[in-house]
């Protein structure tokens, strides 16, 4: 038996995923690279000054395992924390 909280969480997950997929697909068929705005503006800004280049002082997890896996793991961990506390604070008595 799926309670109301779980149903709401699942619906939200499907809606958010659909928004992401539709947005990415529309960008893809429009021939766009879908680059991050932060990096685009930063690169442009760096090009206006001499000897300025983005670097990284620490190895990124996403460089080792790739962005899809890295962000999936991060999302799962953060989602578990949010979901666990959210249910504790807001779950209705009848859903418990």
């Amino acid at each position: 038996m799926i309670d109301r909280f779980t149903k709401t969480a699942l619906v939200l997950m499907v809606v958010i995923t659909a928004i992401f997929l539709i947005g990415a697909y529309l960008g893809y068929i429009g021939g766009h690279g879908m680059e991050g705005t932060d990096a685009m503006v930063e690169e442009h800004a760096a090009s206006t000054a001499a000897n300025v280049e983005a670097t990284s002082l620490v190895p990124a997890i996403t460089d080792l395992v790739g962005e899809p896996l890295g962000f999936t793991i991060a999302g799962i961990v953060a989602g578990l924390i949010v979901g666990y506390i959210w249910t504790g604070l807001f779950r209705r008595q009848e859903d418990a």
Binding site: A24, M40, A54, L57, E67, A74, A78, V82, L89, F90
Partner: protein
Amino acid sequence: MHISDGILAPEWCLVWFAIAIPFIAVGVWQIKRGTKESASYLPMLAMMGAAIFVIAVWHIPVPVTGSCSHPIGTPMSAIIVGPFPTVVLSAIALFFHVFFGHGGLTTLGANIVSMGIVGTFSGYLVYLLLMKVKSPLWFAAGMAGFVGAILTYIITALELALSLNPDSVLSHWVLYSMGFMPTQLPLAIAEFIFTAGIVQYIADRRPDLLAKKLWGGFSSD
């Protein structure tokens, strides 16, 4: 708004850290006080911290512009746990973002100022002003999210212009701001929607959990 290492001049990195540190210190003090006042405060902080971490690194595709970017989440957190504790949460989130290839260690102060301080306090101020004129809670919260998201990027543009273009700060500030806006405006609307929805939900279900003191941290009064 994640500025990478190597982009800002060292002196500007120090300036942004110097601005950020007092806010973090007050935030830590308020967190200590809040955890003593209420047993619910620490879980709320943990939840908001995890939420900011994900929201502020979650690249949402904007097909109209052919690019992607992320909301910030700090205005929502400011309304729920208070603005100063939100600065601490954003500092922690931004530190971990570095290990996901977003932002940098030397630019952490600049990123805390834009997202953690300006995004937080501008949104919280808008929220307070709208509540003062008897605006519906959802609208005040939503506008906090919208304004906080936009101003975060305007300040990021200023940080870039001040460091990289000291001879023409104003024109480059406008230029970089205009570079962010086409993608950030739709995302600011998204920030409006989820901030309004979540704050209204919490107010309906657990109004005692919303921060109430002006500029302060948690109070269950």
